[in-house]
Symmetry: C2
Subunit: 163 residues, 2 copies
C-alpha cells in the first residue's frame, strides 16, 4: 500500500533569456508555502557567457546540499537529538560523452556526500536521523529515483505538443 | 560499448550552518572550468527559518531550468539553428508521505517542462535540438536516472564511516 500523503510540495519556475547566456528564473512556491523570487544563472566567458551570475550546476548543488542540511537540522530538533557543528560536503561528477548529433551528451557519474557533525546522542540515533533526513530531502529523493519528466513544445506560438 | 568521454565535470560543494536554518554553500568547480562562490539558502518563518535567502528547492529548480535553457541556446548556436524568444517553464510536484520514524518522507511526483520558442528552422530541426539539449543537460540527465549517492558520516571528529 502506498504511504499516506501528508502534504504536497508544488513549485512553478519560469526562465527567460537575458544577455548572451544569462537566464532569469522566477520560482513560485504554491504549496506548502507561497513565495515568488527570481534567481539568475549565467556562464563564464569560457562557455560564451558574461559571468553575471553563478552557473546552473552551482544552483543545483546548493539545492541538494542545502535541502539535506535543512532536513537534518529540522528533524534533529523534532526528534530531540542534540547536534552541534554540522558540515555537509558533496563531490559531484558528470562526464560529457560523445553524441551522434550534438557536441556531447551528459552522463552523471555519482555523488559522494560527507556529513560531519558533533552530537552527544548515541551513534545509532544519529544514523537514524541521517537516514530519515535522506528519505525526506526532496532533492536527494529525486536524485535517488528515475523521474517522470514530460516536455511540451510551443513553437512559434502554435498549440503546445508533447516532445 | 560505452560512449567516449569528451570531458569531465567535477564540483565540490561545502555547506555550513549559519543562523536558525540558513546554510552557506560554497561551490567550487574543478572541471571543465574553475570558480568558487558561495550561495546561501534559508527557510521562511513558517518552517522555522529567518527568510534571509531563497529555499533549497528554488536553487534546485533554477539549476534545472537554467541548465536546460543554456544547453538549448549553446547547441542552437553550434548547430546553426536560429532561435528567437525562448521561455522554459517547469512545474515540479513532490509529496510528503507518512514515514514510520520521521515526520515525513519525500516522494517526487514528476516534472512537466514547457518550452516556448520562436524559430524559422523546420520543426524537425527544432525537435532534434531539444532532444539533444535534454541529453546534454547535466541536471535533466541526473533526474532521468537513478543515481549512485554515497554518504559518509564523521561523528565527533572520528574517522568517516559509510552510512
Amino acid at each position: 500500500m502506498a504511504a499516506e500523503k501528508v502534504f504536497d510540495v508544488i513549485f512553478d519556475s519560469e526562465g527567460v533569456c537575458v544577455g548572451k547566456l544569462r537566464n532569469e528564473v522566477t520560482n513560485t512556491a504554491h504549496k506548502p508555502f507561497q513565495v515568488s523570487r527570481m534567481l539568475a544563472t549565467d556562464e563564464g566567458t569560457f562557455q560564451g557567457g558574461e559571468d553575471t551570475a553563478p552557473t546552473p550546476l552551482e544552483f543545483f548543488l546548493t539545492g541538494l546540499v542545502g535541502c539535506l542540511m535543512t532536513q537534518i537540522r529540522v528533524f534533529a530538533k523534532k526528534k530531540k537529538i542534540p547536534i552541534g557543528d554540522l558540515t555537509v560536503s558533496c563531490r559531484a561528477h558528470w562526464e560529457a560523452v560523445a553524441d551522434p548529433d550534438m557536441p556531447y551528451a551528459a552522463r552523471p557519474a555519482g555523488f559522494v556526500i560527507d556529513i560531519s557533525l558533533d552530537s552527544d546522542a548515541p551513534e545509532e540515533a544519529v544514523r537514524a536521523l541521517l537516514d530519515g533526513a535522506k528519505r525526506a530531502c526532496f532533492v536527494e529523493a529525486t536524485l535517488a529515483q528515475k523521474n517522470d519528466i514530460q516536455h511540451n513544445l510551443r513553437l512559434n506560438s502554435a498549440e503546445p505538443v508533447a516532445v
